[in-house]
Subunit: 567 residues, 2 copies
């Protein structure tokens, strides 16, 4: 306790979780003595906004640091508006848990000093993972993790001198950075060591996003890690890939993920998990009852698998910070149960989002999955519909929703938000089939994409429809198999766009009269599709009723075909 | 059974539920003999799109009747693509349940004939309620319930001859029609007999929508029903209200709601409920096991109250139709449990939506409610945020979410969709406090409005915050009470916009130094607010900690103030 008898609360870290915990603690306890210690010069940075500042969506960097009414969240603001002391450019060097004292260093003056605490909050964030390859120290290799990085990249954008840049890593930050710099007129290449970008998506959806990025002018290289950064006179001149390719560039942004910054906690003997994150219980309490932690430095349960994961999301940091703020002032009342790893990002004119488990993640976690993939307009055509490609993953045994992924130019975020709520409610596919979502033509089709996808999945679960993915069809054709591939669209549509993989065109409207053109062998594999495979499903039902035994629907139709087309 | 042994399925009604039931039945049973009987000339009309056609959002009326690939859903389409016979301009006059025969009349030729059925589906829709006032037969009085109505109003829009029009009824259709015609340059007045428009909203949110409509040029009259339609030579010249006001106009659109069209069912002895809707069980089966019903002609359970309601929503019609299509072909496998009465509508630059129960509806249903109202930007300011005003209703006893209403220029539909899912999952406010929604700056603030509102509600539930509504504050001031009203915004904000109800300005940032200016009487009622009342809450917490005992926060702040302001 302080001399006045007030509780001394010290928060280490001033980005998202830290200030939230401090502010909530203040509202809960107006007499506590609250201090935030922050290494960087800035506080409460909207770090998820960095790519949009770099990309020129807005010009005033202070908007990243402001309250909604335009007040910069600096130490003066924290003192006057919140009654919180904020020490910036100050590092906590060590925690003396026995003495309940922090050893601190003033980074401007080098002075060392101590700060005592009754309750300590660790919100030390995460550090970028830097690949251990030669040349990473070259001038021109950066990250986008701090205000300083954002200022540096924004300057590059404004100066318009750099022609080519490489983003190393095709995750959320990598993709957002690619867009920001491509919009600045820089020829961008994203280099990803894995077979796809955006690993929260299954392969076939990630490929659709890659295709869109290519349409927008960016290059995407997958399954090819960076072997070295090349330079002259200490300056970056290119990136060399493992396969020998050299990509000339003057700028490289490393975005290969982040790792929990749990060093201070570990050195103080606090428990740290396999993910590298500080271990906390549902009250956000560490293995020391007087120390709580929140944000990117901790690990939390994945609510579908029960496994601990590192979930460095800005929204969770705030929610966790609030839980800490309550619990350090009133005892453990608030709980943070964990995450569905819900995320979304803008990728040029597309949005890509996911909640829960992808098919591959669900299978890794041991679930027996069944999925449906649809492509459909996100509202009636007359209201200016945009396409959504959606994949729903369910637990075959229980019928429970396990995850939803969605990409495309349409309103992705609404569907991901809805699905995140459905996960939290433990809803099944049957539940989603009769969901009562808001409908009006400016906002959605009469049967929302989420419900329509549940309908398809229910059709598959009950054996009414057998699906096949575009990837499986492509593999069959490449392997020399000869399924009977049936495009059931209209001739006009066929002239405009077609796969060219040996398909036969018989429009849905003509199929009942032209059944004699279909394979005589009723056991021949038949693969039906249309633009989105709704008509494909109708034809498949018809063929099965007429005795064909191996009829499949290519899910998502042409719109979800991620490969090159004949036309 | 038909002569071929195929099941004879007959569907009465060809708008939404009927065609959906027929199409699903076809996919389930390719051998059934399926017939749709439709009174109007059109089939599968996107009737929710009528206001947008009238308003000129698109020009081709066929878009209201087309598949996503542009094929008009006429009898030829139904025959060729679906194998369904569709008889248009045909009326079903009576059901002979014993003989399983429908008596029909061809409306073009007057010919009467019979159609036998094995399974019958009633999807007879709803009829507009026409107020029993003089002059309703005048030329110029119409509804917006049919393609013919839509064509009529669109012609009026295109001709640009009418100067003034009145919409009778401020429900969804009334409001959408007002917008459509106002955009066509017609001076619009909405006349509502109740104290507010959009009865799915609580009063204070409806008033914000009314204010927006007035800003857009429309007049809104409440608590004043139409007494008579006035005319000369059979043509409408004005509308007379109960208070004597006469509104000159050349057009009046009656939109005072719809009533289930259950006449055919009732005459056949099927059970009809208090709402006037056909009674069905969760399989959509009527009191006759061979007759199912779906869409606007039935009543369904309100899932929070258990009461039967009439829920004429286009999305539910489709979902119910699908359930019927499954059950009439395979036996009762699919269930439709009921509705949360989720709805949304566009109102000029605002969206207004609701799911579950409003506060007044929840109280009528016997719940002890606790609510929170917030106003907040729907994403970070630097990404072009728009405001959302949101009201969350909870069951005080269980903490369960009962409903969410939301209005404003921001992304309402996402929040309503999310809340609808939360209702379906039976989530509590505590659950919503830690929801894992998708966050990225283009789509939402770091703490989504839905979560932030749950936080406020949790603060109220735990006694941390005492709220007061703008309406209550207004009433206190009007009644001559003198609470100490404290605006805690900055002086710049105060100069731009202020209530002028006797408030004192002390900015949050100065409050800790100016506590001596506050009332000496620690029991004096103090009402705090700011732009959105987040700072208001901070100050309230501070004052309570310093001994004031009756401190309240005006929820939603100035942004949710529905009355006139001084500035």
């Amino acid at each position: 306790m302080s001399q006045s008898g007030a509780t001394r609360i010290v928060v280490v870290g001033g980005s998202a979780a830290g200030p939230k915990a401090a502010a909530k603690a203040r509202r809960m306890d107006q007499h506590a003595q609250i201090t935030i210690i922050q290494r960087s010069p800035d506080l409460s940075m909207a770090s998820c906004g960095y790519p949009y500042y770099v990309g020129g969506f807005f010009d005033d960097r202070n908007q990243l640091l402001c309250t909604p009414t335009g007040v910069v969240r600096d130490p003066k603001f924290f003192l006057n508006a919140k009654g919180i002391d904020a020490l910036t450019e100050t590092e906590v060097v060590a925690i003396d848990r026995a003495g309940k004292v922090l050893k601190c260093r003033d980074l401007k003056e080098g002075r060392e000093f101590e700060v005592g605490y009754d309750k300590l909050v660790l919100a030390t964030g995460a550090n970028p993972i830097m690949p251990p390859v030669p040349g990473i120290e070259l001038d021109g290799v950066t990250t986008l993790q701090s205000m300083r990085d954002a200022d540096f990249l924004r300057k590059i954008r404004d100066e318009r001198e750099i022609e080519r840049a490489v983003v190393v890593g095709g995750g959320l930050i990598g993709v957002e950075t690619c867009e920001a710099l491509e919009l600045a007129g820089i020829q961008m290449t994203v280099v990803e060591m894995l077979p796809q970008i955006l690993m929260f998506l299954d392969w076939e959806l990630a490929k659709l996003v890659e295709n869109h990025m290519r349409e927008k002018g960016s290059h995407i290289v997958t399954e090819n890690p960076v072997a070295a950064f090349l330079g002259e006179n200490g300056k970056l001149t290119g990136v060399k890939l493992r396969n020998g390719t050299e990509l000339p560039c003057q700028l490289a942004v490393v975005a290969t993920g982040v790792r929990p910054n749990s060093k201070l906690a570990a050195e103080a003997g606090l428990e740290v998990g396999k993910t590298g994150g500080i271990v906390v219980d549902e009250y956000m309490q560490t293995s020391d009852a007087d120390i709580y932690a929140a944000g990117d430095c901790i690990e939390v349960p994945q609510l579908l698998t029960g496994q601990k994961v590192h979930a460095p999301f800005g929204d969770l940091a705030n929610i966790e910070g609030r839980v800490v703020g309550i619990n350090i002032t009133t005892g453990n009342h608030a709980k943070f149960p964990g995450t569905y790893q819900t995320g979304v990002c803008k990728v040029f004119d597309y949005t890509a989002g996911s909640t829960g488990l992808s098919e591959s993640a669900a299978q890794r976690a041991g679930f027996e999955t069944i999925t449906a993939l649809t492509a459909a307009p996100d509202k009636p055509g007359f209201m200016g519909a945009k396409t959504l490609i959606m994949k729903m993953v369910s637990d075959r045994k229980t019928g429970r929703l396990l995850g939803l992924q969605c990409v495309g130019p349409g309103d992705v975020s609404k569907r991901i938000a809805s699905a995140a709520m459905a996960l939290q409610g433990g809803l099944t596919i049957d539940d989603l089939c009769v969901a009562d979502l808001p409908y009006a033509p400016p906002f959605s089709p009469a049967v929302d994409n989420l419900i329509a996808t549940a309908h398809v999945l229910e059709n598959k679960m009950t054996g009414r429809m057998r699906g096949i993915s575009a990837r499986e069809v492509r593999a069959k054709v490449d392997a020399g198999e000869t399924p009977y591939i049936l495009d059931v669209r209209d001739p006009v549509e066929y002239e405009q766009m077609r796969l060219g993989i040996g398909e036969v065109l018989i429009p849905l409207g003509a199929i009942r009269k032209r059944m004699d053109e279909l394979p005589q062998d009723k056991h021949r594999e038949i693969i039906c599709y249309c633009k989105i495979s709704l008509r494909g499903y109708e034809v498949a039902s018809l063929l099965e009723a007429h005795g064909w035994t191996d009829v499949k629907v290519m899910e998502g139709g042409i719109l979800a075909w991620p490969f090159a087309r004949e036309r």
